[in-house]
């Protein structure tokens, strides 16, 4: 499955000897290792098991998301009708938090790209 190594790279011309040594040493490592190939049933069991785990996780995540969304919505509606001042403070706080989060992420990204 190894591809045919192209020979037109600048490194290839400059360091042919080193590249050949690297290829030979990696080939020897490849030849020495004999992987025990499991039966197809083992792979099938792994696929079925993992898909089942992912399905359960998805249901769990959706349930949790729905519960939290309902809770937040209930609190927002309650505060809007019963204590409007809390509702407006919460609105302001959320906008401020979003702005701060955006700026911090942008600065982090710039620093990461500069490194």
């Amino acid at each position: 499955m190894k591809r045919k190594v192209r020979s037109n790279s600048p490194d290839r011309e400059e360091h042919n000897e080193t590249i050949c040594a690297i290829q030979q040493s990696l080939q020897s490592l490849d030849d020495q290792y004999k992987a025990d190939l499991p039966k197809i049933q083992w792979f099938e069991q792994m696929v079925i098991g993992e898909k089942e785990r992912l399905r359960k996780k998805l249901i769990q995540d959706i349930s949790l998301f729905g519960f939290i969304a309902m809770l937040i919505l209930s609190l927002v509606i309650f505060s809007l009708y019963k204590v409007p001042i809390v509702f407006f403070i919460a609105q302001g706080a959320v906008i401020l938090w979003c702005l701060l989060f955006g700026v911090i992420r942008f600065v982090k990204q710039v620093n990461l790209n500069e490194r």
Binding site: M1, R12, A21, L26, Y33, F43, E44, K51
Partner: protein, 185 residues
């Protein structure tokens, strides 16, 4: 049934087709991981993790690259993430050296050859060793490696160049070359 047909069936949710793809690519994946991790145990552990991750991501696979290429790009990123996590631990370097020595000992105990080039490659950091292997052993282009590792092809080019120079230095090929030149003149 060829790889493309298996891939189409696997994306539709056929367990057997996906299992066949994993079985066909298992040896390739594990041998690739052995070379990048230089540790048999870690290679086997990561191979399993790669397959589990790819089951989750199978719907995102567009089929442009070969299935083996897609698998090794997942495996490479899993390994890089693992190294980043473990580097935060104090004994990471010690553990890495230990697994490298173990592989060397296992190879030598089977009376098989362990050469200086493998030691030199093992001494390189993973962000240099992986691009060298992908370029000069597996034959991927700089652009393909860049896409796999999510870095620019220019960075890949310079890492490979510096890595090869480091290997050359460790193998003392420059000295050998100058000695040959001296003896000729």
């Amino acid at each position: 049934m060829d790889e493309k047909e298996l891939m189409i069936l696997a994306k539709r949710g056929d367990h057997t087709a996906l299992a066949r793809l994993y079985q066909d690519n298992f040896e390739f994946l594990i041998k690739y991981l052995l070379k990048i991790t230089m540790s048999r145990d870690l290679a086997e552990e990561l191979a399993q993790e790669t397959m589990l991750k790819s089951i989750e991501k199978i719907k995102l696979y567009n089929g442009k690259a070969k299935f083996s290429t897609w698998l090794i790009s997942i495996a490479t990123n899993l390994y890089i993430d693992l190294v980043r996590k473990q580097k935060r631990q104090r004994n990471w370097q010690q553990a890495e050296q230990q697994s490298f020595r173990k592989l060397k000992w296992e190879t030598e105990s089977r009376n098989e050859e362990w050469n200086d080039t493998l030691t030199a490659l093992g001494n390189l950091s993973e962000d240099v060793r992986i691009p060298i292997m992908l370029k000069h052993y597996y034959g991927y282009s700089y652009e393909e490696i860049g896409r796999m590792l999510q870095i620019s092809s220019g960075t890949i080019k310079s890492r490979i160049h510096n890595g090869i120079n480091a290997v050359r230095k460790e193998l003392k090929l420059d000295e050998a070359e100058s000695q040959i030149k001296q003896s000729r003149s």
